[in-house]
């Protein structure tokens, strides 16, 4: 029974990885692709790690899988934020023909000559 639950969770996690792969190829601009590549693999990994916990059932393995899920939940938003910041500062990304982030609304709060990079 536990093995069956684990298998279902692992297959669901693999499905979310596939959804991310499809989204990265189908979405039209960089920010949308970033959204697909960052969020669904995180949920997929949490599901796969939960499924692996149900299947392996030893204390050290479960500790490591929980740690992996926590590490992914902490690092994935950080690295995606850094990548999004780089894209915002250095690239022009047009969605439906307009660049909605073209004006830097935080610029007036920064001291003059302060390069955010």
């Amino acid at each position: 029974m536990l093995d069956a639950i684990g298998t279902v969770l692992v297959v669901l996690g693999a499905g979310f990885a596939l959804l991310a792969g499809i989204g990265v190829n189908r979405f039209p601009d960089t920010y949308s692709r970033m959204h697909a590549a960052a969020k669904s693999p995180t949920l997929g990994l949490v599901l796969a790690a939960a499924g692996a916990c149900f299947r392996v059932r030893t204390v050290p393995a479960i500790c490591i899988f929980v740690l992996v899920a926590i590490v992914q939940l902490l690092t994935s938003p950080v690295s995606t934020h850094i990548a999004a910041r780089a894209v915002h500062l250095r690239m022009k990304v047009e969605m439906d023909g307009v660049d909605e982030l073209a004006s830097d609304e935080l610029a007036r709060d920064r001291p003059a000559g302060d390069d955010p990079v």
Binding site: V10, G21, R33, L45, R55, V56, V68, M91
Partner: protein, 82 residues
């Protein structure tokens, strides 16, 4: 479980396709980040199969290496331009 590994392999192929297609450097970096996440999921699934004898710590190492790699590539884009 074989089905899960096959699905993850297909997802990895799709990420590699985006790495090859680009068009900008940032798209490749993002797709490579997703590819590393897919590898982490694949190793987790391999660790869940008791016949493969994968050491579980491998998952943690790959996840942390992917985080450092993506952060460094993003800093490179910030300094040199996309």
């Amino acid at each position: 479980m074989d089905l899960a590994l096959g699905v993850v392999a297909l997802a990895g192929l799709l990420f590699v396709l985006r790495v090859l297609r680009g068009p900008a450097l940032a798209d490749r970096v993002i797709a490579a980040d997703g590819f590393v996440s897919t590898i982490v999921i694949a190793v987790t699934i391999a660790a869940a199969r008791r016949d493969l004898r994968v050491v579980e710590v491998t998952v943690l190492v790959v996840a942390l290496a992917g985080f450092v790699g993506t952060s460094m590539l993003a800093r490179y884009i910030e300094r040199r331009g996309g």
